[in-house]
């Protein structure tokens, strides 16, 4: 069996998909394309976030998997746990209005936004405290090196 050889995506006649443009991709290419490791892709699959087809034992990722991965990565970027991402994605139904999914997503998003803002406040706090103590340390250091030049020149 032959897959799309790396570099060209023309005239593929594999028995998995006759619909042209299915654009199946193996794990290596997938990983490169999205800047993740193979381990990560397998891990996401293990957690039920991805579900690539198989050609024997080899994973084949479709357009759908790519869309899902993009969502996962966006979720991670904004600080959702994989568990949260899964919950939201699990509610997706291509045949419905997805109102429930959207509501859950919005709900989780509001909470996450609040967490992020709190974190931001904590970091600002830390930055201030740290800046202050750095000023003290600089002060102490200068007091230890200045004396000889106190009435300098």
């Amino acid at each position: 069996m032959k897959l799309v050889s790396p570099g060209e995506a023309a005239a593929n006649t594999n028995d998995i998909s006759d619909k042209a443009g299915e654009d199946l991709v193996r794990i290596g290419e997938m990983a490169k394309k999205y800047g993740v490791t193979l381990r990560t892709l397998r891990f996401y699959e293990d957690k039920g976030l991805l579900n690539p087809q198989r050609d024997g034992s080899t994973r084949l990722y479709t357009r759908r998997d790519k869309a899902r991965l993009k969502l996962i990565l966006l979720g991670r970027k904004v600080g959702f746990s994989l568990r949260d991402v899964k919950q939201m994605m699990d509610l997706y139904d291509p045949t419905g209005s997805n109102t429930k999914q959207l509501r859950l997503t919005l709900d989780k998003s509001e909470k996450q936004l609040a967490r992020l803002q709190k974190q931001r406040a904590l970091i600002d706090d830390a930055i201030n405290e740290l800046s202050n103590s750095m000023a003290s340390v600089r002060q102490m250091l200068s007091e230890r090196s200045a004396p000889q030049a106190s009435v300098a020149r």
Copy 2:
């Protein structure tokens, strides 16, 4: 043997410290005073960050331990690891100018400050992305409930 009974610190005649005002405190009081758990205090000791005296097997914290704990908690607050805090504290020498300690502290602080600022940027990023996607979700939700009221009223 008798310790300062909880609530009064007068006329203590224990054989550990004759100097009045040594103000020895047991782990429970120490924990309450600084808002940490007993486990935390023992953990810090295990990591070499604290070194309370002993009365038999009972830990007795002195003024010095309190000062160190304050430093630890400040360090944690600004995001230093316990390892970092230890490194800095280990350089403290009550008989010297502590120039080396201060320099190390300043150095670590600069790096930590940079980390905090990077984190802040990441969080700001996340907040923006999340806000954007929330807007999209709201949009989609409104499109699913609006149709009946598209030319409402």
